[in-house]
Symmetry: D2
């Protein structure tokens, strides 16, 4: 229902990733190919890390394809790790506080998908958010609640565990309300050092997710591509939908799995939501 | 922190009330005289009743003084009962879902003031909202929560009782968190038939509130004023801050009181918040 | 590149025409079928006549599909003659002053199409606008310049003649700059009494345009359709792209023609741009 | 009618200049002291130079005081030369294309003031813009026309001469239309290397303009101020209205003068508009 992109590697100008490639994310805002919706025009957001203590976040309710300020920002901001998200809203209002990525301290979080039956479970979910975090919820999107649940369950210490518990709670609450498939989606989160990407759905038919093959291998295959010589060996893109025109550049993330991109240590592992132990 | 206006009487074009008078509400968005803030530029809203089942609501995050669409709407919409509100945000985001008036079914609700220490009591307050109403909260403003509390406590059956209980709960929650003066403000609510206006604050120093004297008396005093001959005998304006240039036209609502304007039966009565009976 | 709709007939609530039908104009903002662009998300506008001296105009740069204020307005405003336009911008900025319909006095004007090579001919075209009208141009869209040219050439007295001269000038200026097909599009204009719709392009392959068959005939064919019994015998819709689900309801406007819908006197006539007499 | 600020010196985070000082420019958007208008809430803009070929420009129609994206940008972007402008519109529409600073190639341009009787002279002025520049005018503000006139008259080669000729033309056109005082204002322009600031008005009563005293002298006076040790010896701020709380830090620019801040060579010189030689 949305599209997103996460980059980690040597610092690049955002525009090189957001605008330059064929079928770029900005093109996908108007015409995506793989999405449940072909238009992702209900706002967008960019989050980027630099030397500041917290990542910058720029969000707008205009469609990304005609936002002049995004174009300016992308042409002047460089980052070694950034997120971009284009939204196709399903339910919650089109307003900046509902645009991804969401931020808490040094953490960013974004999602393509939804909590099914959100209206029915929202109260139970927000009640499960830690009391000290509760007042920091600024919007009304399902993803923001999911983010605060993950924070409640220790995102800052163990992201895979915290996300598994958050989705597990969503599934438990949803099923208690008769929702067949409570969770759908792909998620990215980061602390500015490492990047975690999840693909998971209650139905076992998750939204698509792809990551780039090793840059060194791509350079051998496409020695003339300038962008490949610009970025570092450990550069990695994770996207909802492939962009660019380099056949063989993308690997699909398997169903029910997650990946971690960290300094010199990338891993791909199975992912299973964790049901809450007892009482709901 | 905001300014508002409520009109009830024979149908008039909104522009006659919103734009035409000297020191009109739209002027007050840029330069109010009596407000805690002189600029009320953080969005606005208009709600109006006509023959449709529910009132119309137009809200925008642009300052009212330069919103061309508001000008157009006001020049073409007639109503026998309408609300207008200009906002000076204190805390919650400037977004349409935080603009007053709020609507539920046939009811409109708006407020000038605030719940002090809202972050500390928000969780307790939203928990007290009826579970069936909870998912309908669309924004993050303190006033919207107050509205849903009033709906929970029977606003549709007995507005003064419901508002007294809602504010009473706000005061109880606030005081349990050490807030000295938890509630401040003036409130208007309506079902399209009657209009209720409240002036109340924990400190006993409430935001200002005024209503117009009897139109028949005003007509005798100002026989040349066109607007006075246009409107019906029972027309009534309630405002945060007087507008126009008719000395003697305005009566200040007393501290800790509320007024009801209903068909041929206007009343002004004392108002006291009702503390919750037992457990919080 | 855009989609538009014009209604004339007995007064109806805008929502009945804009939102209710299958494949409505609002649906077309997200997924049009016949347009050069499938998404028309670069703002929209509505213009409507009522008893006021000038038509009301509501314009926004948000996509129509998620504009809550448009939904409210459409649910509360009734009109006997109104225009609606959804925009897919090609070149000029996405801002309210570039949204159709444009207004001058009692006249509304909207367009689906473009002036090819506009940057090259803009100076010559605005120079041809009457000096007294020139300062009233508020935006930068090609269509607004076309409207002011038509006003210069007597739109208020003889719309077909004025539009023919305006397009003729566009073609002459364009060709002098080497543009092969300077004009493309369909146009609607009205004074609140009559409605004129034009289909014309330099290439002879104009954007699509349709109008409804006689309502009395449609009622016989579809006796159960509520909307058909609501509207008057002389009701007429002109649209870029058919909506609703009534086979046989729509007639395609022929290439190079225009229609007039006036009280009891509808006409369909050939349309040819008029070249300027002499020097350009 | 507006307020602006220009900084040149060692690279600083924008927030240090825009938000940190007492009575900062962002505070002035809500409550200015010296302006003709106390509220400057009709949009804003920031332009900044970095290593990119052209300066970045971020413009918005929201009031600066509550624009979250401006706050983010200012907290993450560093620049050695940047402009910021807050607008109080007088006439032209509140839209991004009318927000200052305006940009052409490497040049930025902003203005506090107005062309009096602009509607009457606009046609003559835009006709005087070079034909190749004409199509690049994107908005409808008087200042943008002034900028394009200055570009036409050689801004990129000799800014003081070009600005003098542009204002001279404005005065000649205005007076031929009976406008007593055609031009009012202060102007800043830059190519990313040097900064020019002008103070001038037909009436001889120009909007206020101030610049900072030599940083070395300020450091001696205020040894504890962190910002003063952060910036380079040649750092300079030019502002419509003093900010901060350092008595003696500001020097008023004299009436009818201009200043140039260039590498190691600051000058303050008289400024007189140049009337066009012959026919208008």
């Amino acid at each position: 229902m949305c599209r997103w992109l996460a980059y980690t590697g040597s610092p690049v100008l955002l525009t090189r990733v957001l605008y330059t490639p064929v079928h770029s994310l900005i093109d996908q805002s108007l015409h995506s190919r793989l999405g449940a919706e072909t238009t992702n025009g209900d706002g967008f957001g960019v989050g980027w890390y630099d030397v500041a203590p917290a990542p910058g976040v720029f969000r707008s309710i205009e469609p990304a394809w005609n936002d002049q300020n995004l174009r300016e920002l992308a042409g002047h901001v460089r980052s070694h790790l950034f997120f971009a998200h284009i939204r196709a809203a399903i339910g919650s209002a089109v307003q900046q506080t509902n645009c991804h990525p969401f931020r808490h301290g040094r953490w960013l979080f974004m999602h393509n998908g939804f909590i099914d039956g959100f209206a029915a479970v929202k109260r139970d979910l927000v009640l499960a958010v830690d009391e000290s975090l509760f007042p920091q919820i600024q919007g009304t999107a399902d993803t923001e609640v999911l983010f605060y649940l993950a924070l409640t369950f220790g995102l800052e210490d163990n992201p895979p565990e915290a996300v598994a518990r958050a989705i597990g709670l969503v599934e438990a609450c949803g099923r208690s309300q008769g929702v067949e498939y409570p969770f759908q989606g792909t998620i990215a989160t980061s602390d500015g050092e490492s990047l975690w990407a999840f693909r998971c759905s209650s139905q076992g038919k998750s939204r698509s997710l792809f990551f780039t093959r090793d840059v060194r291998a791509l350079r051998q295959q496409y020695p003339d591509r300038e962008i490949l010589s610009e970025v570092s060996d450990d550069a990695r893109l994770v996207v909802s939908e492939p962009m660019g025109d380099l056949p063989g550049a993308w690997v699909e993330m398997p169903e029910a799995s997650y990946g971690v991109v960290s300094k010199g240590d990338d891993q791909l592992l199975p992912f299973v939501p964790k049901r809450p132990q007892k009482s709901m």
